[in-house]
Symmetry: C2
Subunit: 154 residues, 2 copies
Amino acid sequence: MSDFAKEKEIFFNHLKESGLKKTGQREVILVVFLKTEGHLSAEDLYNLVKAEDPTVGFTTVYRTLKLMCECGLAREEGMGDGFKRYEHHYNHPHHDHLICTECSDLIEFYSETIEKKQDEIALSHNFKPTHHSLRIWGICSACQKKTKTKAAAK
Amino acid sequence: MSDFAKEKEIFFNHLKESGLKKTGQREVILVVFLKTEGHLSAEDLYNLVKAEDPTVGFTTVYRTLKLMCECGLAREEGMGDGFKRYEHHYNHPHHDHLICTECSDLIEFYSETIEKKQDEIALSHNFKPTHHSLRIWGICSACQKKTKTKAAAK
DNA sequence: CTCTCTGCAAATCTTTTGCAGTCCT
DNA sequence: AGGACTGCAAAAGATTTGCAGAGAG
């Protein structure tokens, strides 16, 4: 089964198990979310959903995002600007982010060394870690070039 | 000169350089902040300040926190709950946090290995890092004991 | 039919801003 | 005196909740 099909199944199972109903809106929101790659804010998702079905309101988007997080399809992550972002969680292993403060570009990375060291540190404090978030802000390669070009043009 | 005296000097210099005025409220807020250790929210600080001088409003606390960040005495850091926290920045080298999701306790740590690895990763993406934040959520040692005790009592 | 959903509008919650009066310098 | 500062109240921005009508099972 494709991930896409599995994810839909997980979602609808979660609804059934919680005594919730399968509705058109929830399905549109789910499908639109699954089709995206990125790190969307609730509003981003709302806009994508609205393009597909203009009658869906943001209340429902927020509520459905919560459901998707509950059943492990999505995860919440703040990037330091005012709002929460949502990423795929199912079959999307943990990763961290480089965040460009000029263009808001996000670069994902993963480091075994860092993950291991984190576990060591937690262990040394008798701390039982559940999840973590590492964010590095700075200027991405493209924006560095832009700045240089501007400076040269002076 | 003590750190305390230096920090006051830095703050008042910052005011002078920016054409701002030295006021009683700003001084109380500064001093109260400098006396604390921790990771305070604006409201935490407001409450501490109010105990010392009940006439200070939170507007001024927020505005003064911004000033303290500007001149490098404080740094802003979100812990994933709804609000911003403020830490000492002057002579307080960067560190990361273990965050207990039961009791909200914060444990600071620092790892040279992780810091180095982060720089390597940034470099490998031609990314120029400015700052970063690593947060590990989980259950602290004390809360694990509490849970065990409860379980044993059943 | 019942019980959950939905969208709207209104409420939250933290942080910011406009304003009229107050206080440094 | 004059501009900056302050506290209040109101605004803002993201997210949540109450409600009455709509829809799934």
